[in-house]
Symmetry: none
Amino acid sequence: MDAVRPLPDFLVKRYQGWKATTYADNRGWYKRLAEEGQRPRAMVISCCDSRVHVTSIFGADQGEFFIHRNIANLVPPYEPDGDHHGTSAAIEYAVTSLRVGHLIVLGHSGCGGVEGCYQMCEGRAPHLEEKTSFVGRWMDILRPGYERLAAGNEADRMRALEKASVMVSLENLLTFPFVTKAVEDGLLTLHGLWTHIGEGGLETYDPAAGGFVAV
Amino acid sequence: MDAVRPLPDFLVKRYQGWKATTYADNRGWYKRLAEEGQRPRAMVISCCDSRVHVTSIFGADQGEFFIHRNIANLVPPYEPDGDHHGTSAAIEYAVTSLRVGHLIVLGHSGCGGVEGCYQMCEGRAPHLEEKTSFVGRWMDILRPGYERLAAGNEADRMRALEKASVMVSLENLLTFPFVTKAVEDGLLTLHGLWTHIGEGGLETYDPAAGGFVAV
Amino acid sequence: MDAVRPLPDFLVKRYQGWKATTYADNRGWYKRLAEEGQRPRAMVISCCDSRVHVTSIFGADQGEFFIHRNIANLVPPYEPDGDHHGTSAAIEYAVTSLRVGHLIVLGHSGCGGVEGCYQMCEGRAPHLEEKTSFVGRWMDILRPGYERLAAGNEADRMRALEKASVMVSLENLLTFPFVTKAVEDGLLTLHGLWTHIGEGGLETYDPAAGGFVAV
Amino acid sequence: MDAVRPLPDFLVKRYQGWKATTYADNRGWYKRLAEEGQRPRAMVISCCDSRVHVTSIFGADQGEFFIHRNIANLVPPYEPDGDHHGTSAAIEYAVTSLRVGHLIVLGHSGCGGVEGCYQMCEGRAPHLEEKTSFVGRWMDILRPGYERLAAGNEADRMRALEKASVMVSLENLLTFPFVTKAVEDGLLTLHGLWTHIGEGGLETYDPAAGGFVAV
């Protein structure tokens, strides 16, 4: 493990600042969270993108959101085949053990994963089609979204595919028996969001409108 | 998609507060991030646990960290078999496309996933051993860590397994050819951290000490 | 160039320490910064005073702040007369080439330049009034701030002049067409700060309060 | 002053962290620095570039260095014409009032100002030649350095011009009577440095070698 190094100084300093302020100001609550365990109100599935700051947008504090982040906020279909499924494991734990009340999928503008998927489906990214490309194989989950895109210019289709990444994930969520059951029992609601990074905008999928509307 | 509902009011209100304050105060920067794309300095792999607040601990703001979160901050071994591998895809994207300089694995106290793994390995959680248990199959990644645990009381062994979840992930990271290459080229350093939620503590793996030491 | 000497030993040693630690721990990031160029989020205009440590106060690391430092953190008015204007050049580069999102003017307690200006305006520092005094001619920029000072004791007036050095600079900033345009386009926000060195205090100009308030 | 906004949250948090840690740990020293005034050992003239971190490289702490930063670390020639000269004012204050023992000019690789000067002198940057270009008029100071460049490929000439920005500044420093006098009195030494950002390298001008040598 010689390749492993101690934490860089700039993060040590920031941590120490947090310890002396935010931690010191909230010590009682953090101790309770540690002793009694977490009880998050919602699970959020968002992209790893550094510009998507779910805790900031929602003013979230320690203990509120169970957060899973992966490339392009994707949920694969239900596949209980005995392999490692990180996303499915996180959803199973949130819904069956933590019993969160909301499951939110959050997409965003300018998603590199979605763009890669678009180029791959258009036949312009052969390296993503190789079996050994983890990004390519992960983005295969979004192919059904690409198939449904309306004709149009590339920018519009790319934007539509970003929102499709939310819808495909919501559809796949409903293939998980424990998700469907919690929804039917009235214990869980699903939500689809898309945020515009540059404009700070937020849209929510509204089934009445049959599409995304500004919040 | 009737199971999908618009965003709940409490989150709408928080978002609107963020838009009118933080967004308004940082609009120029967010626009640039949108136009020029992200350039995060580090990737962090942490647990989904709602009490682990990596952006808070490190005072991270929009654009700084590429964050992947899954149950128990695990990295599976390199397996380019053509299946969906969300964690491996995130690492591939961070290292080969974004070229982050630091890859940080952050474990924590009281991890429910680690506890489940411990019980499963002790033979006390048969439901986690079923093929259909996503959490069980995901936690299989940590079995090598369990095998190496020293004898002792349960609390100590559980704590040791939490730290082992960081070490196993670091070991598995080094099975990815593009990670090893970036490390050898001096472009990437790996870091292992473990945080104590109740005490706000932070430990870093120090190869010179051969274990975790307080930051 | 015989007047030029090699770097003194005490700085050689410190540099070598930095190279073996901070540089070694952040090599990948520094290489990227070198290859891809800087993308600072903010420009800071502060005093040269050795006690004003903007990178320390804000935990700033390589690549974050574009920093201009001059005597008394002054910005002269917009004067495109073809002469050398170092401060104006720095602002032009930050706003039009680097497109920073924030422009921060940071004043401080016990500023020697401000005190010189005060004595000069009171008629007690004839040497600063000479044409050949670079410090005097530079501090002329702050004369409009002196003119506006309320009556009172000297200590209060000097403190008020320190804060006026921030306000005059902010006013002058708004005489630069490219600054005004970036502000109007919502791409740039201006900020005025004053720090108390002995007490470690920080005040920010708040237009709602019409003055400086503690952070 | 409606264009001025309070300090953004991310900097408020970082400041508060510094106050609770670094300030708290050094309170006595900062109070003394405030009461007794600064007594810096050296003046450093460096570029505004966000990647040049003089306090980090030299492990500098509050009170050690009087720092002036402008585009391309340039010193204009001595011109006591009664106009605003920010750089000359800073040098005058450091040498005659603070009586620093070292005056260090620090250049760096990949300097945007130097590159602009190079393109301008090659006739490829007409916008920089306009009278209204503050950056162009500021970089005129480096024209004598361009004139002296040896023939060669562009990358080599650009690198040479970066180092020339240090030499021209040192030459101009010696046109200031108070600098020359302090040097002759044995109270001040001049130093020329150039740092390679990506490699963390540092070179010092060595008159014995007649050029820059690695530290």
